[in-house]
Symmetry: C2
Subunit: 557 residues, 2 copies
């Protein structure tokens, strides 16, 4: 029924065609063993090997550590499970008396079963992933395959690539891998997904599943927007009353929960970046500590509590002690302190705050925001550096050197150019708000922007590299455990590829861009790769929604 | 981060407000025991009873049958499970040393534990649900409650209502029900959901889950668009080759699968309406039988196979034999024969068909469509009546009396007025395409159209009643088992209520309608009811997505 809206043949528009041919079968047949995100360099041969898990091992040939050992066990299981899916399907076909011949038996390109993957890690493991971690690796697939990296994080990325090279053949009965050489590393070093556990609480299991998906997509940051106006699920020991603003006493994240999440992420080379957004988006803090919020007025009447009170010493005391605790729970060297969407007009509606402004010769409420942030950022001390939303920069707050500004409102270059010229670094999110929905395969629009390309010509190359990467953002007003995984994936996979590969869809900037957004992706190969990748995620337990158009995925269920 | 887009206070717009207050907690606190869809007549008292499953029974006081017995067992389990969720939560709170007092103990309104529900069915059961089935019931909740109906179908609806009256209290520790009287019946007799198993195959389990959801929403038709261009998962005995066009040999619906689905639906008072869409949307038929499709030409070159060939006797033979088999598998008295989006220009591109037209004095290809349908509809014989998409009517096909036309393209009155004036009946879907997405709680727009209200004043009341109801349509280009349930529900619940209750949101037609669509639903009570209803579905295993804005649901997980 949708055919006339989105289903006509992509090439028809170039003719004066008045009807369309829809062929049976998937619109985009999935690729076989294409890597996501696309590697830096890859060569691939027609020769191939078969996977038989019982006669295959992954071995450590260099340095090793608990992270590598856990990863080898994990990926050994991924391969076993891939084999099991094919085996299950093979048995179903036999029950149906369907017989697909095994093409491998007499094929000149068939080189036998895969024997071993040797992992050579040439340096000791680091304890936690970090902004400047090395993710480079090289991989050669042969009967005895080799994966080399100077870093545990590169070894993890290489194992993921290795697992993705396998594909099913012969009617989904066999698992094969082609002879391949890869050298790979990311374009951007910060490749994240923002989750929001305040608008809807997410169970630990959903957060761990999200980390599984990040690993599959070679993303390396979970930006955890943990509290906001609506609820405060972080359970503090120094201020246990704060989580009275959890939706329910059972809907909290304890120190043990956070430790579990941080370690699970670490094992996958993923940083967990906590955000405690101040001074706006803080209504929930007021359930236990109303005095640190500002009373807002309208027509002289109090209408409720707004942003934090920047004139109250208690405000800073609470933030300071809480940050100190948060620094102990999250090993990352950055803390996101928010700073977005502060209701400055609430401050000016309050007589006591207006008096404070007069006493301090302030004429604009943005000066209060500046004062607030100038007070808050030093509370991080030497243990953490700040990340802030762009409003903090826009409102003229003096940020310490090395601060990171997250751009979410402006798709154009000017905002980033200004931030870079002021000596700060940038994380870009403006094009990648996953809560903004449109019908169908909207993920290809995420390729339209490569953050550094945007500022190209406006700043020099060194400054360009201060754009560290970006994040897809899944604000949780309309998602919870029922739909978050399927709505984020595989849409965020497009962001993952834009950031790792610097890949821009070859037609993203063409004249038909806007038109294509609402029709179909003209980059056929990209869509076919995405079909395989979404199916791959499903086979590995991440229930990604279908990316494009009609098709199917054999998952063994 | 979305606050400025959708999160300001709904009433602020009437002031010149420049800032908003966001209170902690859910945006729409759920109601407690509100029925969905809203019943025809309900009175409710402050007095209430407690549910203790071990001391409560549902008993049959009148006629009975296997459908009623199965339903009583099913709803007994629903109540037990509701109790179990509260009990599990109570234990979790105890482990956390959280103590909510039990308000019932000393409350003057508390009337003790609920003892019994007596179900008085005053007529023998029918075998299958049908278009004209009686769904009326009356219910009185007291220590010994009574449910009365003249029809098994009404009894099923009453049991659902009874189950929905229970709610959790005292920090989700107790399950209560208020003294209530209800007389209820639907405004529209056809209240359906279309699913599409061609664009993506749906496992049987997903279809059964969908039937669970239809039951909870008092919807009574599963419109099963079983095959289309992309795949043919229906496994035929007369034409076993047809399902060579299934995506995979394992992705089919056998006679046994269909029987399971039909019986599961019957037990819930739900009709299963099969659609075999002809002559367009039939590419998959051509995998086994290319000769029944039309070869299309462009610039004199064949470009592939288009709609069925209306000039080929074989076409009608295949349809006739297949319909005969389908009639045996689906007991419903209607078969949907499609007729939408026929590529008429393919027909005119084909020289043999142009010759046929000349020989039969046809000047318009729509006459071929008319000829085709005129040939096909009698193939149903006396066993089934046809339902067709609106194009069949629009293109002037002479339909037998009592035919039903499904309107999907025109939201305005004129199309329905024309169909009614021609003596046909209408099913309305034009406002309810669930595959069309927009950000956030888009379900309240589904209340904007009440189909009969649309034609009010254009036709008389008798003709108005020939609008039999409507269907929400979930075309499956972009959904499969990963996301179908969460994307359909609770959005289709709004359609269910529009059709059962004839409820139109009190602000749906207000001057701010368009504005509200993109902001928040101004009908606060409706949104609070929807919050409860979505949570109720989750508690009953239907993983509906969050309907609105920030909030939470205690499910016992």
């Amino acid at each position: 029924m949708l055919r006339h809206i989105i289903f006509f043949n992509a090439f028809c528009v170039f003719f004066a065609a008045s009807f369309s041919i829809v062929k049976p079968g998937p619109t985009y047949p999935p690729t076989k063993g294409a890597i996501w995100p696309r590697p830096h360099e890859q060569t691939k041969s027609d020769t191939y090997y078969k996977l038989v898990p019982d006669s295959f091992t992954i071995t450590e040939k260099g340095q090793t550590c608990d992270i590598l050992k856990a990863a080898i066990e994990r990926y050994t299981n991924v391969l076993k499970n891939t084999y099991l899916i094919a085996d299950t399907h093979s048995k179903k076909l036999a029950n149906l008396n369907v017989n697909y011949p095994n093409t491998t038996e007499d094929d000149v390109n068939y080189k036998g079963t895969l024997q071993e993957l040797q992992v050579t890690l040439s340096a000791p493991c680091e304890t936690y992933p970090h902004l400047d971690m090395d993710e480079k690796y090289s991989l050669e697939v042969a009967a005895v395959s080799t994966l080399k990296s100077d870093s545990i994080w590169g070894a993890l990325r290489g194992l993921e690539t290795f697992a993705q090279l396998f594909y099913m053949s012969d009617g989904y009965k066999s698992v094969l891998i082609n002879t391949t050489q890869i050298v790979d590393y990311p374009k951007y070093k910060h490749r994240g997904l923002l989750i929001d556990t305040s608008r809807h609480y997410l169970p630990i299991s959903t957060i761990l599943k999200t980390l599984d998906a990040l690993e599959i997509n070679k993303m390396n940051v979970l930006h955890w927007h943990i509290v906001d106006d609506q609820s405060f699920p972080y359970q503090s020991d120094v201020f246990p009353q704060l989580s009275l603003a959890a939706y329910d006493p059972t809907m909290v994240y304890t120190a043990a929960d956070i430790s579990q999440i941080v370690n699970y992420a670490r094992d996958r080379g993923i940083r967990v970046l906590p955000e405690f957004d101040v001074p706006g988006h803080t209504s929930s803090w007021g359930v236990a500590y109303p005095s640190i919020l500002t009373t807002c007025y309208r027509f002289g009447e109090s209408i409720g509590l707004g942003p934090m009170d920047p004139t109250n010493n208690m405000t800073y005391k609470v933030i300071s002690d809480l940050f100190n605790e948060v620094q102990g729970r999250f090993p990352d060297k950055y803390i996101h302190v928010g700073g977005d969407e502060v209701e400055l007009d609430c401050w000016s509606s309050n007589a006591a705050i207006r008096k404070f402004m007069e006493e301090h010769n302030m004429t604009e409420t943005s000066e209060l925001h500046s004062l607030f942030m100038t007070n808050v950022i030093p509370l991080l001390g030497d243990r953490s550096k700040p990340i802030v939303w762009q409003e903090v920069f826009d409102e003229g707050v003096t940020l310490p050197s090395g601060s990171i500004v997250q751009v979410w409102k402006n798709i154009e270059a000017s905002e980033m150019v200004n931030i870079l010229n002021a000596g700060h670094k940038v994380i870009y999110s403006a094009s990648w708000y996953l809560d903004h929905l449109s019908t169908g395969g909207d993920w290809f629009k995420y390729y339209e922007v490569d953050p550094r390309n945007t500022v190209n010509g406006y700043v020099d190359k060194i400054k360009e590299s201060d754009i560290l990467g970006g994040e897809a953002c899944m604000w949780a007003e309309v998602v919870d455990e029922t739909n978050m995984i399927s709505r984020v994936w595989p849409r965020a996979s497009a962001v993952a590829e834009a950031l790792w590969s610097g890949y821009t869809s070859n037609t993203a900037d063409g004249p038909y861009r806007r038109w294509y957004r609402y029709s179909r992706n003209p980059d056929h190969e990209l869509s076919c790769r995405m079909e395989e990748h979404a199916c791959r995620m499903n086979r590995r337990g991440v229930r990604a929604q279908p990316p494009n158009y009609p098709g199917f995925c054999i998952t063994g269920n």
